[in-house]
C-alpha cells in the first residue's frame, strides 16, 4: 500500500499500533506483577500496580523442594546468564542473518547445560522435573521431526508425480483431525505395550502429529531453491543424497529454522497428548493446569509464577529468532 504522508495520520498509526501492543502484552505483564506479589496483595479489590512489596517467595515455593537460603545464589547466577544473553544479542544484532541464529543456538545450549546442573547446587522441586521433561521432549521432537521432514519435504518439492500430490493432500487431511481421534487409540496402545508414561512414546506421537505441517512448510521452502546447484553437483558425480546434504541443506537454513520454531512451539505447548499419555512424567503445560482449578489466593500467585516461568524460555527463543519467524513466513510458507 502507498505510504501515508500526513504527519498527524502517521502519529495515529503509531498510536494504534502501540494500543494493539499493550493489548497483546497486558496479560503477560499482569501475570508477572502477580507473580512477585504476596497472595494477600494479589487478591485486593483495588489492584496495586506499583505500591506493593515485591517478593520472590512464589518462585521459591514453585522451584525449590524446601524453602531455603540457596535460592539467592541460583537467582543471581541466572541473572548473570541473562545479562550474557543480552550482551550477545546486542553484539550480534547488527551482523548478518546466520550469525544471529548461531549465537542464539549457543546461548540456548548454555542455558540447557546450566539447567541440567541445577540439582547439584539446590534441592529442586517437582516443577524442575517437569521442566526437564518438557525440554527433553521438545528437543527430541524437534530433532526427529525436522530431519525426517527435511527428507520428505525436499522429495515432495522435487517430484511432481501424482503420488506427491496424494501424499500432500492426505497430510493436509491428517492435520485437520482432532487430537482426541488419535489420543484415545494412543492411550489404549500405550497401556497395552507398556509405553505409557514414557518420553519416547510422546515424542514419536508429537513427531507424527507435526509431520503434515512440517513437510508442507519445508516443501515450500525447498521449492524456492534453484535447481541448478544440485544439478551441477550431480553432474560432478554426487548422489542425490550427497547433493542434498552438502548443497541443499546449507542454503536452506533460514527455512529450516522457521519450521523448527513452529515445531518447537507445538511440542513445548502441547497439553492434551501429554495429559493423556503421561501419568507421573508431566510436562509443564500439564503441571500448570493443576494450579489453575483452585480458587485459593495462595495458588493464584504461584500459578502466576509458574506461567511466567513457562513463558520465559519461549521469550528467550523468540528474542533470538523472531526475524527468522517473520522472514521465513514472508519467503516461503505463505506461498505454499
Amino acid at each position: 500500500m502507498g505510504k501515508i504522508e500526513n504527519p498527524i495520520l502517521r502519529a495515529l498509526v503509531h498510536l494504534a499500533l502501540i494500543g494493539c501492543c499493550i493489548f497483546c502484552i497486558t496479560p503477560l505483564l499482569w501475570a508477572f506483577l502477580n507473580s512477585i506479589k504476596f497472595p494477600v496483595e494479589a487478591n485486593e479489590i483495588v489492584p496495586s500496580i506499583v505500591g506493593f512489596t515485591p517478593t520472590m517467595s512464589n518462585y521459591e515455593k514453585l522451584w525449590l523442594y524446601m524453602k531455603g537460603s540457596d535460592f539467592v545464589p541460583i537467582a543471581i547466577s541466572y541473572l548473570i546468564v541473562m545479562a550474557i544473553i543480552v550482551i550477545l544479542y546486542r553484539v550480534n544484532r547488527k551482523k548478518e542473518y546466520l550469525t544471529s541464529a548461531k549465537s542464539g543456538l549457543i546461548v540456548i545450549t548454555i542455558l540447557v547445560i546450566l539447567l541440567l546442573i541445577l540439582p547439584q547446587i539446590a534441592h529442586m522441586s517437582k516443577f524442575y522435573k517437569y521442566l526437564i521433561n518438557s525440554v527433553i521432549i521438545t528437543i527430541a521432537t524437534l530433532a526427529i521431526s525436522i530431519s525426517i521432514g527435511c527428507l520428505g519435504g525436499y522429495a515432495l518439492a522435487r517430484y511432481s508425480g501424482i503420488l506427491s500430490m496424494v501424499i500432500l493432500i492426505s497430510a493436509l487431511a491428517f492435520r485437520s483431525l482432532p487430537r482426541m481421534a488419535f489420543g484415545l487409540p494412543f492411550y489404549f496402545f500405550a497401556q497395552k505395550s507398556g509405553l505409557y508414561d514414557t518420553h519416547i512414546f510422546i515424542t514419536i506421537v508429537l513427531v507424527a502429529l507435526n509431520q503434515p505441517f512440517t513437510i508442507w512448510m519445508l516443501r515450500s521452502f525447498f521449492k524456492e531453491l534453484p535447481l541448478e546447484l544440485e544439478q551441477a553437483a550431480m553432474i560432478d558425480g554426487a548422489s542425490r543424497l550427497q547433493s542434498f546434504l552438502k548443497i541443499i541443506i546449507p542454503i536452506a537454513w533460514p527455512g529450516i529454522i522457521t519450521t523448527s520454531l513452529f515445531t518447537l512451539l507445538l511440542a513445548y505447548n502441547e497439553f492434551l497428548m501429554a495429559k493423556l499419555l503421561m501419568q507421573s512424567n508431566w510436562t509443564l503445560p500439564v503441571a500448570i493446569v493443576s494450579y489453575t482449578s483452585g480458587e485459593d489466593a495462595a495458588y493464584r500467585t504461584i500459578a502466576a509464577a509458574a506461567s511466567v516461568s513457562i513463558t520465559l524460555p519461549l521469550i528467550i527463543v523468540i528474542t533470538f529468532f523472531q526475524k527468522h519467524l517473520v522472514r521465513g513466513m514472508a519467503s516461503g510458507a505463505v506461498k505454499g
Partner: protein, 286 residues
C-alpha cells in the same frame, strides 16, 4: 527426481504418518463399536452402534456442537479482519517495526493453557479488567455460561489474530510495486486500491488462514478446560472438550471414540471443498 529416489526420501515421513495416524484411526473406529472403560481395557465388549445412538441422544452433544459452530463463525472473520487491519497499519511504519512485531507475537507464542490462565486472571477478582469494569461501569464480572463463553471466544480472537496478522503482513511485503503505482496513476482511492489490488493479491493467503483457522477452531480444547476450570456446569463445552469429558470423567472410552469418529466426519464435510481447492491449485502449479 525419479520415482524410486522420491520413495526413498519420503519413506520415513510416510512410515511415521501411517503408523501413528492411519492405524490409530482404524483403532478408533473399531473401539467406537465397543463398550470400553478403564476397567475392561483388555476385554472390550462389542455393542455395535449403541455408542453412537447414546451420543446423538445426548443434549450436551448438541450444545457442544452449537457452541463449536458459533465459535468458528465468530473467530475466523474476527481473526481475518483484525489481522488485516493490523497488517495494514504495520505496513505503514518502518520505524520500531521490530518492537511492534515482537509485542504482537506474544499471544501467538504463549502456551495456550498459560495464555488462557493469564487472560482469565484479568477477569478474576483482583484482576485488572475486573477492577476497571467495576469502577467505570459499576459492573461486577461473574463467571456464568454467557461470560465463560464470551471469555473463551475473546481469548480465541486474542490468541489467533497474531498468526493471521503476520501471514497477511508477509503477503503485503510481496505486493508487486508496479500494480500499486499503476493504480495510483489511474487515480484510485485508498479503498479502491485495497479492493482491486491488495485483496486479489492476498486471496490465497486468506484461504490459507481460513483453512488452518477452521481446523484449529474446530478442535479448540485447552482454553475451555482452563476457563471453565473443568466444570461442565458452565455449559461452555466444545466438541473436543465434550469428547475429552466422556473419555476422562465419564470414563467411557468406546463412547468417546464414537464421538471422535463423528468429529472426523464433521470436519471432513466442512473441509472437502477446501481440500479440493488446494488439490486443484497445487496441480496447476506443478
Amino acid at each position: 527426481m525419479d520415482r524410486n529416489t522420491f520413495l526413498k526420501f519420503v519413506t520415513p515421513s510416510i512410515i511415521v504418518m501411517v503408523l501413528l495416524m492411519v492405524i490409530p484411526l482404524f483403532m478408533a473406529i473399531w473401539l467406537s463399536f465397543n463398550f470400553v472403560t478403564y476397567t475392561n481395557l483388555d476385554a472390550p465388549r462389542f455393542v455395535s452402534l449403541s455408542n453412537y445412538k447414546e451420543i446423538l441422544a445426548d443434549p450436551d452433544f448438541w450444545l457442544a456442537l452449537r457452541f463449536s459452530f458459533i465459535y468458528i463463525l465468530i473467530i475466523i472473520p474476527s481473526k481475518l479482519l483484525l489481522g488485516l487491519l493490523i497488517a495494514l497499519l504495520l505496513d505503514q511504519v518502518k520505524k520500531r517495526r521490530g518492537i511492534y512485531i515482537a509485542c504482537l507475537l506474544v499471544p501467538f507464542i504463549l502456551t495456550p493453557v498459560v495464555g488462557t490462565l493469564m487472560f482469565r486472571t484479568l477477569f478474576d477478582r483482583g484482576g485488572l479488567i475486573y477492577f476497571l469494569l467495576e469502577r467505570l461501569f459499576n459492573y461486577k464480572f461473574l463467571l456464568n455460561t454467557q461470560s465463560v463463553r464470551f471469555l473463551i471466544i475473546a481469548y480465541g480472537v486474542w490468541a489467533g489474530t497474531p498468526f493471521s496478522m503476520i501471514t497477511l503482513f508477509a503477503g503485503l511485503l510481496t505486493l508487486p510495486k508496479n500494480s500499486m503505482e499503476a493504480a495510483t496513476v489511474d487515480g484510485a482511492t485508498a479503498f479502491q486500491k485495497l479492493w482491486y489490488v491488495v485483496f486479489p493479491h492476498l486471496k490465497p493467503l486468506i484461504t490459507f488462514i481460513t483453512l488452518i483457522g477452521i481446523m484449529d477452531a474446530y478442535r479448540i480444547f485447552d482454553p475451555v478446560l482452563v476457563m471453565t476450570r473443568g466444570n461442565p456446569a458452565f455449559k461452555a463445552e466444545t466438541l473436543m472438550y465434550y469428547n475429552y469429558r466422556i473419555a476422562t470423567s465419564v470414563q467411557r472410552l468406546g463412547k468417546a471414540n464414537a464421538m471422535s469418529v463423528l468429529t472426523i466426519i464433521g470436519i471432513f464435510i466442512v473441509l472437502i471443498p477446501f481440500l479440493r481447492l488446494t488439490y486443484k491449485e497445487q496441480m496447476e502449479k506443478n
